[in-house]
């Protein structure tokens, strides 16, 4: 059940690199484990929006998983700032139902997609593939649809 065909970067066949932003260590770890099952790689982690921006600059990830509610700088603002600097940034908002309005705001400010908490791996997997679009390829044409 938990096997996902690894998703690679189209341009060089390397693992997709992620930046995981969440103020809960637990949530980060949880997402990190999912990312590993997708054949991806956690390039960086951040516990607040401010760090997320500097980590983005440092790691230049393929995908950012961004929590909404965080100390110091919230996810929306961080997402907005990142997209302004890097319009190509693929930011996926991760949050629970209660913060729908904030997700909408983030989407209006350039976030590419959203996943609701608790994150289900199969959902995240589909979202990742969608967000990567042409830039991601599923290695070994194994079960694409879950």
């Amino acid at each position: 059940m938990e096997q996902f065909a690894p998703v690679r970067r189209s341009k060089d066949g390397q693992p997709v690199r992620y930046l995981v932003v969440d103020d809960s260590v637990f949530a980060r770890k949880n997402l990190g484990q999912m990312i590993e099952t997708f054949g991806g790689q956690v390039a960086g982690e951040a516990g607040d929006g401010m760090t997320a921006i500097t980590e983005y600059e440092r790691t230049n990830p393929d995908i950012v998983l961004m929590d909404i509610t965080m100390p110091q700088m919230e996810g929306i603002e961080a997402a907005e700032k990142i997209v302004r600097q890097h319009p190509e940034a693929r930011i996926v908002m991760v949050s629970s139902v209660g913060y729908q309005e904030n997700i909408v705001a983030a989407l209006q400010r350039g976030a590419r997609h959203f996943v609701q908490k608790p994150v289900k791996p199969e959902v995240l997997y589909e979202v990742i593939k969608y967000v990567l679009g042409e830039d991601g390829t599923v290695a070994q044409a194994a079960g694409a649809g879950v």
């Binding site: 260590v25 637990f26 100390p71 110091q72 209660g98 609701q116 959902v123």
Partner: protein, 721 residues
């Protein structure tokens, strides 16, 4: 939960329990803050955020009930609700407790406790803010035929006139997706990349729970392209794209109204944006302030304490190895006093010793945690206890940065809790009594911690009515714990020491009069186990301070080594006040105690070894007397010879090998000899209890009476490393 194997799941759960505990702690702290400043918006947001994180983490771990409970609370915790509801702090406290008990039920795999109180409060809160209405409405909506406005129709015509194709897109939101508004926005974003969205149903983001969306899109793309773009996984379940007919007909007719089209676009969009922007900016404000406490440093590693203990243990072995080397080197030097290589050995040894020292200190530092970890649980407790007793108590905490060995910290948690409880419950008077005595109505309780030499001091002080030493003495006499003569001789500190006797303080009157409740003996026994001490400082009418003196670490002590009956023993160096030399003839007997006069003080003595047989007494024989200071009390230990001082790595002895409390541990010296470390507190106690007056013998041979066992222990541990 399909993503994790068992092992991973267990690890995650462990992490969850730990972080959840921290969340609850913060929740308590925020609740206290809210109680002080009711209706404070920042605090309410902060609480909401904590509950939110807990909800998310719980859900990810598969703890559905907890997640749902947190979800209900989070939903109800709107700012409007906070303003209208006064008992919010109370609710936060109850929430913290309820979550706590649910967590421990999960952890112990027990059935979940009822959460009705919390649920009821949540319902009340939700009701008062009218947020229930908002949620319950409009779930079962059916596909009513969409009616486009005149403006939209005009826009369509206009698009046709520009030669664009117009599509009507009907999409159904994935039932798994619980965020239809966000889904709508995402679809809107996707469509915007293709062309211009002329109309949308539902019109704005406000009416939630609509699963069916309709858009009018003007675009150059083909129907297939549009369909492909609208297939957004996990969000959109079904899409139907139809081309709107009649373009050619109306194309000519409607070349005029481009303004109207613009107007629609500028009317609909900004309104939506404003609403959302407002919502998000308030969230941002909340995040910027008052959130520092929850921020977790990224550079912190969670390590199993056992692993650190392992390292520390190995460092201990290294230290033993170092002394082995040193001894071998000494021997070598004796055999070859002229060998030049000795100097190089000595240099290497000195270097190694220094590094080893640093290593030991660093490892010990890993085990150190700030006392705050313990102190932070008290604000809530003091509040609860004070409330129960109908008192007003202010808690002042200082020195919370003081570091302490984790195992010591864990061990003193219970005693300190005890002392705090007692201080609030019994030590501090109620407001009426306080004002009658001319004190501030609000009592004050202080927790303080600081370093002092090789010790850490933790103080619990109150400004209550103090302990009346005379009443304690009277009680001790009544219970037959002391004779009247002894009582007359006792210093105040000795007298107060009685409150630590098991069973002593439980007596009703004492509890009421002196205000010290049950179980102070627990405090005493824990402190003894830790090789620490507890002192009482009290002034009638002004308050009491309990001072806990703790060693910095349990693993390594500086010890004084000495011989009794040819055997090697050690005591912690910090208990030794001084070492006196004497002759047997200097010793006197008072009431069957042996005493020694040092300067102007009379020092009671304990013979660890056998007393010399009277007939072949050697009055000139030299002996050593170790003067031990235990709080106010001094005691002399008679030993035969001193061996020196050394840093000992304590090896705990299990109960099978030693069943006397006179020995608290053992250590191995560099030459492989085993030394037993004596428990000074127990020896002093034994001295106090062995009532020489009754047996007619002097206190001697203390170690010998338990000697057999101790010797067996020694034999069993005597292995060359």
């Amino acid at each position: 939960m399909s993503q994790s194997s068992d092992e991973r799941g267990a690890e995650l759960r462990q992490l969850f329990f730990e972080s959840a505990q921290e969340l609850l702690q913060s929740l308590n702290e925020e609740a206290l803050k809210l109680e002080k400043h009711p209706g404070d918006v920042e605090t309410v947001r902060s609480i909401r955020r904590l509950v939110h994180t807990l909800k998310g983490d719980a859900a990810a771990c598969g703890f559905r009930e907890l997640s749902e409970l947190a979800h209900e609370l989070e939903d109800a915790l709107t700012v409007e609700a906070a303003a209208s509801h006064t008992a919010l702090a109370e609710m936060a406290f109850i929430a913290a407790d309820t979550f706590g008990s649910v967590l421990s039920a999960y952890r112990n795999k027990k059935s979940l406790p009822p959460a009705e109180t919390l649920r009821r409060m949540v319902r009340e809160l939700a009701g008062s803010a009218g947020s229930v209405k908002r949620r319950r409405k409009a779930t079962g909506e059916t596909a009513a035929p969409v009616i486009w406005t005149e403006y939209e129709k005009l826009a369509v015509e206009n698009a046709f006139s520009q030669g664009k194709r117009v599509y009507r897109i009907t999409a159904r939101i994935d039932p798994q997706c619980l965020m239809p508004i966000a889904a709508r926005q995402l679809l809107l974003n996707a469509l915007a990349t293709l062309g211009e969205v002329l109309g949308a149903r539902p019109e704005t983001a406000s009416p939630a729970d609509r699963k069916r969306l309709e858009f009018l899109l003007a675009s150059d793309a083909s129907a297939e392209q549009v369909t492909a773009k609208c297939h957004i996984p996990t969000v959109i379940a079904q899409v139907k794209v139809e081309a709107v007919k009649g373009g050619a007909k109306s194309a000519k007719r409607a070349a005029s109204p481009p303004e109207t089209e613009k107007k629609i676009a500028t009317q609909v969009q900004p309104a939506e944006k404003e609403a959302v922007a407002a919502a998000s900016s308030t969230e941002n404000d909340g995040a910027e302030k008052g959130q520092a406490g929850v921020a977790t440093a990224d550079n912190i590693l969670r390590v199993d304490a056992e692993r650190i203990d392992n390292v520390l243990n190995l460092v201990g072995e290294l230290i033993i190895g170092k002394s082995m080397l040193q001894q071998a080197l000494n021997e070598f030097a004796r055999h070859y006093p002229k060998e030049a290589i000795r100097g190089r050995f000595a240099d290497a040894m000195a270097f190694q010793a220094r590094v080893l020292n640093d290593l030991q200190r660093s490892v010990m530092k890993i085990r150190m945690v700030p006392v705050e970890q313990l102190f932070r649980r008290f604000p809530r407790m003091v509040r609860d206890v004070a409330r129960q007793c109908g008192k007003e108590v202010e808690l002042v905490i200082s020195g919370q940065d003081t570091d302490l060995d984790k195992s010591i910290l864990d061990a003193i948690a219970e005693p300190i809790t005890h002392l705090v409880r007692n201080a609030v419950g019994h030590g501090i008077e109620d407001a009426r009594e306080r004002t009658a005595r001319g004190k501030a109505a609000r009592g004050s309780l202080r927790l303080n911690a600081y370093h002092q030499g090789n010790q850490v001091i933790v103080e619990v002080s109150d400004d209550g009515h103090g302990i009346d030493a005379q009443k304690v003495k009277a009680k001790a006499l009544e219970q037959g714990l002391v004779t009247p003569e002894e009582a007359a001789r006792m210093s105040e500190a000795e007298t107060l020491g009685f409150v630590f006797r098991p069973g002593f303080s439980t007596a009703e009157e004492i509890t009421e009069i002196s205000g010290r409740g049950v179980g102070l003996d627990v405090v005493q026994s824990v402190l003894q186990r830790l090789k620490g001490r507890v002192e009482i400082d009290t002034r009638p009418g002004q308050g009491t301070t309990f001072r806990l003196k703790l060693p910095l670490t349990l693993a390594i002590i500086k010890a004084l080594l000495f011989r009794v009956e040819q055997r090697l023993y050690a005591i912690p160096l910090n208990t030794v006040a001084e070492i006196a030399r004497a002759r047997e003839s200097d010793l006197h007997r008072v009431d069957n105690y042996e005493v020694l006069q040092i300067r102007n003080q009379v020092l009671p003595l304990v013979r660890l070894g056998r007393a010399p047989v009277p007939q072949d007494e050697h009055p000139a024989e030299r002996i050593f007397v170790l003067v031990i200071a235990l709080g106010e009390r001094k005691l002399g230990l008679i030993v035969e010879a001193l061996e020196g001082e050394e840093e000992l790595v304590i090896k705990a002895l299990d109960d099978q090998s030693v069943s006397t409390d006179l020995v608290s541990g053992a250590s191995i010296l560099g030459d492989g000899r085993v030394v037993l470390i004596l428990n000074i507190a127990a020896i002093s106690d034994r001295y106090g209890k062995s009532r020489p007056g009754e047996t007619g013998e002097i206190a001697s041979g203390l170690l010998l009476s338990h000697g057999e066992r101790a010797r067996r222990a020694q034999a069993s541990t005597e292995v060359r490393p």
